[in-house]
Symmetry: C2
Subunit: 253 residues, 2 copies
């Protein structure tokens, strides 16, 4: 299933003891519909306050409910800030985490005089101008297969921090003349992401945009393999899990 959610009200995606999570909501909706206590698998957890446009989940059910009824049936049992937008049957070998071949995250910065209040839960607001060309250049150093330890939380438990970034791009929306501000979207597509990776990249790029670091410093930070060399972890609310792609069966969100 493809799931979108506004992460503002949740303690992240993954179930935690006595906390309000997106996974809990989804599993409760499935229980309410089928009576089954399923355990969801997702393409990956998202942190508290992080959003998803195209999260992918899978679970096993012996329900006889026809496939085309699932979306609406779950949506009527879900709060308004979680929407199931697609459902399909997959091979029993499918695993939303392990079968994913490409994931895209987006980080959004609203830059200029005034925030866009209608997007305040989805855009990190930066009141002064940023050098977007320098940020774009800095971003380009991240493409390729690298050890991204510098852009990974020290709390990571992964054995290897080598990942491949296929694409990294920065898009600017036109200036809103009323607000005298514009949105900067950073899209990162890779075969996998480390703990806080996109948020640390965004936090470091903001410093590049502020002129506190050069674009080339991104290369040096990467080479250093040290979290201490990179910038701060940017706020979670600017981050959105944009899209997850699967090879087998051509499943995409």
């Amino acid at each position: 299933m493809t799931v979108s959610y506004d992460g503002t009200a949740y303690n992240g995606f993954q179930t935690q003891p006595s906390l309000n999570t997106v996974q809990d909501m989804l599993e409760q909706a499935v229980f309410s519909l089928t009576g089954e206590r399923v355990k969801l698998t997702s393409s990956g957890r998202t942190d508290a306050g992080v959003h998803a446009r195209g999260q992918v989940i899978n679970f096993y059910t012996s329900s006889k409910i026809p496939l085309e009824r699932w979306c609406r049936a779950l949506n009527t049992r879900l709060p308004q800030d979680i929407v199931v937008s697609g459902a399909r049957e997959v091979d029993l070998s499918f695993h939303a985490t392990r079968s994913a071949v490409r994931k895209t995250y987006r980080y959004t910065i609203r830059c200029g005089r005034h925030p866009d209040l209608f997007k305040r839960h989805m855009e990190f607001y930066h009141p002064t101008a940023l050098d977007t060309e320098a940020m774009r250049e800095g971003l380009s150093w991240l493409v390729g297969t690298h050890d991204y330890t510098s852009f990974c939380s020290v709390r990571s438990t992964k054995l290897s921090h080598v990942r491949t970034i296929y694409d990294a791009r920065l898009e600017c929306e036109p200036l809103d003349p009323l607000l005298q501000s514009f949105a900067i979207h950073i899209y990162l597509t890779g075969n996998g992401f480390l703990y806080n990776m996109v948020r640390i990249v965004a936090g470091t790029l903001i410093q590049v945009g502020e002129g506190k670091r050069t674009s080339e410093s991104m290369r040096d930070i990467l080479a250093a393999r040290s979290r201490a060399k990179a910038g701060p972890t940017a706020m979670p609310h600017g981050l959105m899990l944009w899209e997850v792609l699967y090879d087998e069966n051509g499943i995409t969100t």
Copy 2:
């Protein structure tokens, strides 16, 4: 001053006894900044749940705070769902309601399989397809100088229901492939609007889009001068006060 607000949390713009309104928040922010108990004038009240991109307000102050400091100073004293985006000094004769020469409202309908949850507070969701060409035709009958009694709440206390609509247009956003839905924006620009006018126009146009009424019925409804002939009042959360224009001094939002 130009003010944007997310109306979701408020009981409308205008101060009401013991209710939480946008005007109360603004007047409290001015008091906190200057110590003055001002009484705001706005370009017009908005109902509970209705939003504003470019509301205009004015008030009298003897504060010595420089003009360029007002926006930031007020915004730090306002909740995040209200933003003052512009401030200027005007002639003492200026009156935000009476000096306005043109106002634009926007009503947004999300049409298709799934709502856009990130815009759920700003888009009225309609799960089935709408005939947008018929809606566009229907809308065109409203342009001109007419008695809009049919599109006015029976609770109106105005002596005359004659207004001029300068422009009425419908714009469709491209289909979101993930959500299988798209947004329809209805923009109405006129010299003034009656109580619930845009929402009744939207509610009636939705029926045109559903095929329950013909586009030409808009002409007949207008001619009937009877609220009973029009469709329902559409939900407030799809409505946004878009822009207010003032002639003198070329003040625009």
